[in-house]
Amino acid sequence: MRINRKRYLTQNVAKILIWMAALSTMGVMALIILQVLSEGIPVFSPRFFLDSPRSMGREGGIFSTIIGTIALTVVAIVVATPLGVGTAIFLGEYTREGRISRVIRFGIGCLAGVPSIIFGLFGFVFFVIYLNMGWSILSGGLALAAMILPTIICTAEEALKAIPYSFREVSYSLGGTKWETVTRAILPNAIPGIFTGIILGVCRSIEETAVVILTAGSSLIIPTSLFAPVRTMSVHFYILAREGISMEMAYGTGAALILLVLFVNIVANWRLNRYIRKRA
């Protein structure tokens, strides 16, 4: 009887603690989002999204920073996806566990642990100065690509690992070469997992500030080439808030940033579910 009461008590205490952990996580998240949105959304108007900033961002909108954010993210993803997925395929399909794969994995692990400001510094020294690309979409995109590479490699590798060995055996037994097996039997089934990694990369690129401020500059002009400098939404937010230019506009930018990330995730999920449903 006594033991039973103790077990009952433990059970309930555990339940309460675990609920509290989950709720407080959700609470903090909701608090941040609600605060930014409630301060930011009142600034929203069609002009806010369609005009470029005027007088340092005190007036006007955020159009050029939206363009900057999208341009940098596209460059980063276009560069990092083939490299990352290619590396994952190499590690998973083309090489056995050995010295080479260990060195690559060690490298990926190190890259993943490097703080983003270091990627910014590297991008500044290597792309901006040494390769003479200047503060530009290209420099920023390449530095972001380096930053999101480990994420894409790791998720892609996990996705490939999850494909049953038997699929490979079937493909080989039907006369497939390694390349045909990878492209026809393995990759199409690993796409949902790989896609998840890419979306993580997209979101990190959209939100990143430290890397971008050192590599893409902070120009408020709408870019016309890959070599033009840009300011992203997160950098804009940082400068507006830090220099005390306009808290109002800063919140507006922050709210737009949050909504953009939310939008990307929702669209990605929707596309992914459709892909999975179509194949099942």
Binding site: S166, L174, R184
Partner: protein, 253 residues
């Protein structure tokens, strides 16, 4: 049944690392016969089957001695095209493994790899293969739905059709009925007996009864050794070796 040898296995041994899985096997398989390889678990049946189209190459650290001839040609000849060998010697595994794509795409997978891309020709090949695999009637109205929605028995016949689409010469079947109900099993056995006319079939049967129902000749394997071979009638009614008799009569296994 002709008396021409299709596959000749000569002094063939196979090792996973240092563990021997097959010990100096000598065996001739004739064209257009169903040859049953039977024996208890871990007797080397699957290894022998997978050696016949070199799927064992995928296993890291495996090696072999001796050789296997297909139509008098060494299949381990380095000049031989591996993809070509696997097209000529098709395999069906013990579990039906349908790739997660449509029924049509599953069957078209092999022909596509072999360069058949014209839709009309592909349609014909797929239709013919599904008819030979005795699946056509059940799936002809839903060729483009996912193969994963088929039942186990249907999936296994799909796997057979997928191999037949390549028009191989030798058909290897590793317990193709292991997960199936008696009706699906009967349907597959019937298919095999019909296919014998055009193919040489090497079958690891699901049980002794199945071997005696469909096989022309049979070989009994134990611990990686070929204990005895002969016509199915002789092996199942009057085996020469004590071990074979014990196994066939159910004293062990």
């Amino acid at each position: 049944m002709s008396l021409r040898n299709k596959v000749s296995i000569k002094e063939f041994s196979f090792y996973y690392g240092s563990v021997p899985a097959l010990k100096r096997i000598n065996l001739e398989i004739r064209a257009n016969e169903i040859f049953a390889i039977f024996g208890p678990a871990r007797s080397g049946k699957t290894t022998l089957l997978k050696s016949l189209n070199r799927l064992t190459d995928l296993v890291y650290g495996a090696r072999h001695t001796g050789t296997i001839l297909l139509d008098e040609k060494d299949i381990y000849d380095p000049k031989l095209s591996l993809t070509q060998l696997r097209r000529r010697v098709g395999i069906v595994f013990d579990l039906p493994i349908a790739l997660p794509m449509s029924i049509y795409e599953n069957v078209a997978y092999g022909p596509r790899l072999n360069g058949i891309t014209r839709k009309k020709q592909l349609d014909e090949t797929v239709g013919k293969a599904l008819r030979s695999g005795a699946l056509w009637e059940e799936v002809k109205d839903r060729l483009h739905t996912s193969a994963l929605r088929l039942s186990g028995g249907q999936q296994q016949r799909l796997c057979i059709a997928r191999i037949l689409a390549l028009e191989p010469e030798v058909l290897l079947l590793d317990e193709p009925c292991s997960g199936l109900d008696p009706i699906s099993t009967a349907s597959i056995e019937e298919t095999l007996t019909r296919l014998k006319k055009d193919y040489t079939i090497v079958l690891v049967p699901h049980n002794i009864q199945q071997a005696s129902r469909v096989a022309d000749r049979a070989g009994f394997f134990l611990n990686g050794e070929l204990i005895e071979e002969g016509t199915a009638y002789q092996i199942f009614t009057g085996p020469k070796e004590k071990q074979t008799e014990d196994y066939v009569t159910g004293r062990f296994g």
